[in-house]
Structure formats: structure tokens, C-alpha cells
């Protein structure tokens, strides 16, 4: 049996037996362990509720949550909630991505622009930006705009800061190589700074996903007719913990799907990285 050494994403060599069975076993090890913990949690959760250690009003059973899901999807209200939250998330995140990447590239590339904006960016980065929510409502009203603005403000910073540090950390030796071949600034930007910062940009986007979801939730907390966050808030006030749990799972699922998309992008772009 041939033994092939491959390098995994962290650069550690792993021995791979080329027999299919062994390879399958290795590849699924991660998945198995990861799933095992989730299953364990479910079992503990089920046991705790089954023995009545906590009353259902505090901790609904898994079956109760499943039931809540079924009820939620039997009415059309949930779709309004999905649409509302989806819209806030989509516009806020997309705007954060576009603005964050473009501004990050510019600030990273032109040192003067960096000197000019950095103090302000650091200030906003340090502030708990959810605290801007009430102000945004005063400025933009209670509707979609203030919510998109809050999501944007929360999510734009990880993208911007990551992107600009990606551009700044460009390999000076490669710049020298490019200059040697007569490349001007624009070509250096296009062929070295831009591809070099792709991993940083994607990392920033990954962070921004979690932040956007926080933005959506907080924005709806501050006053909303529809939305998954609003649903959770209402259910909480009426002690419908099963619906609260269902809402949390929806948020988690949204985050995981988006993160999976970015990870897929990262793998595509990282063919050249060990």
C-alpha cells in the first residue's frame, strides 16, 4: 500500500494511506467528532427535559422546539419574518462587503488615505457599534433604512480593517520583482496587492457574517413589525421559549450557510496556499 504525504490546511503533514477505506476514515474523523458533540448536547438536552429537571417554560424539549417549528411554518407569518430579516441582512451585508472591500483597498494602498482615516476607523472599531442603533432610528426612522444602516455599520469594519491590512502586508520582495519588470503602481496593485489580499478579504467577510446577524437582531429588538429577531423578542415576552429556540436555530443556520459559502470561496482561492 502506498503512503502519500499530504499537507493539510495548517501545513502539518498527514500520512494518508491510499486504501479508500482508510482515507474515508481519516476524512470523516473531523465530521464524526464534530457531530458527536452536537449529538451529545441533544441527548443531554432531551434527558434534562424528559426528567423534568427544568420546566418546559424555561427549557423546552427538542420535540417541543420541533413542534414550534412545525407551527411556525404552518402559518404564512414566518415568511414575512424571513423576508424582513433577509432583506436587512442582505442589504446590510452586501453594502458592508462592497464598501469595506473598496475602502479597505484604497486605505491600504494609499498611505495618506490611511493616515487620514485610521484614527476615525479605530475609534469606530472600538465603540460598541450596536449602541448606534437608537441614533440611527432617530436619523433614519424605524423602517428598513435604519436597520440596514445598523447592519452595515456593524459589519463593515471587519471587512475594511482586514482588507486594508491585507494590502499593507504585501510582500516587498514581490513588489521589487514587479518593478524590475517595469510594472507601474497600477499593475503592482492588480497583480500583487489584490491577489495577495484575497485571503484577508475573505477572512473579513467571514467575521462580518456573524456581526451582520448581531446587527439584524439588535435592529429588530429596537422596534420592528416583522423579522426573526422581532419574533424571538415577542415570543420571549410571552414566555414561548420553544419559539425563542426555533428563532435562535434559524439565526444559527443562516450564519452557518453563509460561512460555508465563504469557506468554499476561500478554498477556491487558496489553491496556491498550503
Amino acid at each position: 500500500m502506498a503512503i502519500v504525504v499530504t499537507l493539510d490546511s495548517s501545513g502539518t503533514p498527514t500520512r494518508q494511506a491510499s486504501s479508500t477505506l482508510a482515507r474515508l476514515g481519516q476524512r470523516s474523523e473531523r465530521a464524526v467528532l464534530g457531530t458527536a458533540f452536537i449529538v451529545l448536547l441533544f441527548v443531554v438536552w432531551q434527558l434534562v427535559t424528559a426528567f423534568g429537571i427544568e420546566p418546559p417554560i424555561l427549557l423546552p424539549s427538542p420535540a417541543g422546539v420541533a413542534n414550534a417549528f412545525a407551527n411556525l411554518f404552518s402559518s404564512s407569518d414566518i415568511w414575512f419574518d424571513f423576508a424582513a430579516s433577509g432583506e436587512e441582512l442582505f442589504y446590510g451585508f452586501a453594502l458592508a462587503a462592497v464598501v469595506g472591500i473598496i475602502a479597505g483597498l484604497a486605505i491600504g494602498w494609499y498611505p495618506r488615505l490611511g493616515y487620514f482615516f485610521d484614527p476615525f476607523i479605530n475609534f469606530l472599531y472600538a465603540v460598541p457599534r450596536v449602541a448606534l442603533g437608537p441614533l440611527l432610528i432617530v436619523w433614519l426612522g424605524i423602517g428598513l433604512n435604519s436597520k440596514v444602516a445598523l447592519v452595515f455599520l456593524i459589519a463593515v469594519f471587519p471587512v475594511l480593517v482586514n482588507t486594508s491590512s491585507g494590502v499593507r502586508s504585501l510582500d516587498q520582495h514581490l513588489v521589487r520583482v514587479a518593478r524590475c519588470f517595469g510594472a507601474g503602481d497600477l499593475k503592482i496593485f492588480r497583480t500583487i496587492a489584490l491577489p495577495g489580499s484575497v485571503p484577508f478579504i475573505l477572512g473579513g467577510l467571514r467575521l462580518a457574517i456573524g456581526q451582520s446577524l448581531i446587527g439584524v437582531f439588535v435592529a429588530e429588538l429596537l422596534g420592528a413589525q416583522h423579522g426573526i429577531g422581532a419574533m424571538i423578542e415577542n415570543a420571549g415576552q410571552q414566555f414561548q421559549t420553544d419559539i425563542v429556540f426555533a428563532g435562535l436555530l434559524i439565526f444559527a443556520a443562516a450564519g452557518m450557510v453563509l460561512t460555508a459559502i465563504v469557506r468554499w470561496l476561500e478554498r477556491r482561492f487558496d489553491a496556491w496556499r498550503i
Binding site: 516587498q172 514581490l174 524590475c180 519588470f181 510594472a183 499593475k187 497583480t191 484575497v198 496556491w272 498550503i274
Partner: protein, 286 residues
């Protein structure tokens, strides 16, 4: 860049009596006169890397630079490439002072400096793209031919991290050759290549330089390599480096069989002797 132009004390000392041969002013393609270069070191420190280097190179000449590690060979090459401003002296190419990099020069860097996100083929076309000489399919075909020359045809679509150090170095060479420079600057290009491949590459390099009338400055630590390739071997002293000896190698070209000749060994011994005393610092000031 963390370097600064520092004027050395030597200019003020009035060093007119430098022993530069330079017989015919007009025939020199590359000309260094009294070239000194200092780096701004830590704090107010100044690191004098090279000191009053004199060198005149004619078009088509192959000059090897030899000297102890850290004596300023890379620094000198960078100055010729146009990356580093010289502190004092005169550095001219075709009679014009060198101010910045130009399409007439290409450098094979000591560190390969390949773009990790481009496959080997597109690393080789990189120089062509940057200089805007040719692009697209034509560039790829040209690059393919050079990859064949350096023996890496099978790796055209590999990424740099999948290559060994020596293979990366060969891609680095192919990338510089691709732009068909007039002046080729090579910084220990074969340092991490095995002996057999190295000899093959040396023969190829000589062939290319002859065919295309390329002028070459070739830095190496390998005396045999220097004698095999060079029309002239210039030996640097320890830092701050200056050229103490300029050995003219009068072996006929092509030199495919030259290594076996007694003259070859005599040259190797001569250069080794010079290098030994240069490294020991005894030859300083000659």
C-alpha cells in the same frame, strides 16, 4: 524601502587616484566608477555595503562577481538594476546614469520571488505582462519554450509551493530570460540546483547569452562556475566590498568541455587564491 541615500565620507576625501582601467570611454556598456553605497542601519548607524567599486563592462561580456558573503554583491546588482540609489560615484548604462529599473535589464533574484497565486507558466509570463512586451497566447508559447529550456515543462501548471527550491530558482531564471533583456543580472541563480542540472543550465545560459548578445553580471560563490561562465571574474573584498581583482578568463567558447582542461584548473586556482586573500582582508586597498 528601509534604505536611505547616505553620502559616504570617501567623496570628500578626494579619491581621484582610483585605479580604474577603462581604456575607451565610449565602448563601455556598463560603467561603475567609484560607486559607494551605504544603508541606513539601526538608529544613526550607517552600513557601508560597497566602497568605491570600479567596473567597466562591454556589450556582450559575461562578468562573474565573486566575494565573501555579505560583501555587497547583491547590493551592487540592485544598484545596477536601479532599485538602490548609489551614495556616491557614477553608475552608467550606455553612458546614461542608472536611475530606475528599465526594460533593458532583468534580474534573477537570490530569493526566487515567485507569485504564489500564479502557476509556473504564468510566473514565467509575468515579466512579459508587466513590461507589456507580448501577452496572451504568444507569451504563453514563449514561456513554454523557456520552461523546456530549464527542464520544467512538466510543471507548467504547478504552483510555486509545489516546487523544490532549485526548481523555483529555475522558474525565476526563465522569467528573467523571457523578457529578453540586454543586461541580465543574476544573483546566485544556481545555488540550490543539483550539480548535473547546474552544469546543463550553465551551458544553456552561455548559449543564450551568446546568441542574443546578452551582457551578464553573475554573482556566485562557486569558483568553478565563475571560471566556466565568465569572460572576467571580479573578486570583491569583505564588506565594505570593492573589486580587488579582475581576472580575464581566456578559455575559448563554447566551453562545454572546458572543465577538463588544465588551463581551467589553473584559472580556478588563481581565483581561489585571490578570493582567499580577499576574504582574509589582506588584499584590501590593492
Amino acid at each position: 524601502m528601509a534604505t536611505a541615500q547616505v553620502t559616504t565620507l570617501h567623496d570628500k576625501a578626494g579619491h581621484a587616484a582610483s585605479s580604474s582601467p577603462a581604456p575607451d570611454e565610449t565602448s563601455d556598456y556598463l560603467r561603475a566608477r567609484n560607486v559607494s553605497l551605504a544603508y541606513a542601519g539601526r538608529g544613526n548607524d550607517i552600513v557601508h555595503a560597497i566602497d568605491r567599486v570600479d567596473l567597466s563592462v562591454k556589450r556582450g561580456e559575461f562578468v562573474c562577481l565573486l566575494g565573501p558573503s555579505g560583501c555587497g554583491k547583491t547590493t551592487f546588482l540592485n544598484a545596477v538594476a536601479g532599485f538602490l540609489p548609489i551614495s556616491s560615484g557614477e553608475l552608467t548604462l550606455r553612458g546614461k546614469p542608472i536611475e530606475k529599473p528599465g526594460p533593458d535589464r532583468a534580474m534573477v533574484f537570490q530569493q526566487p520571488g515567485l507569485l504564489p497565486w500564479r502557476d509556473v507558466l504564468h510566473n514565467v509570463t509575468y515579466g512579459l505582462e508587466m513590461s507589456g512586451k507580448i501577452r496572451g497566447r504568444q507569451a504563453a508559447a514563449h514561456a513554454g519554450a523557456l520552461l523546456k529550456l530549464v527542464g520544467l515543462s512538466d510543471f507548467a501548471h504547478s504552483y510555486p509551493h509545489q516546487l523544490s527550491g532549485g526548481m523555483q530558482q529555475r522558474v525565476n531564471l526563465a522569467r528573467a530570460l523571457a523578457v529578453e533583456p540586454e543586461l541580465l543580472l543574476l544573483d546566485e541563480p544556481f545555488a540550490s540546483v543539483d550539480a548535473q542540472t547546474r552544469e546543463a543550465l550553465q551551458v544553456e545560459l552561455l548559449g543564450i547569452c551568446k546568441r542574443a548578445e546578452v551582457t551578464a553580471l553573475f554573482v556566485t560563490h562557486d569558483i568553478g562556475e565563475a571560471v566556466f561562465l565568465a569572460d572576467r571574474v571580479c573578486v570583491f573584498t569583505r564588506r565594505p566590498g570593492r573589486i580587488v581583482r579582475d581576472v580575464r578568463v581566456r578559455l575559448p567558447k563554447p566551453r562545454d568541455e572546458a572543465r577538463l582542461k588544465p588551463e581551467f584548473l589553473a584559472y580556478v586556482q588563481e581565483v581561489a587564491g585571490v578570493l582567499g586573500s580577499a576574504a582574509a582582508g589582506k588584499a584590501n586597498g590593492t
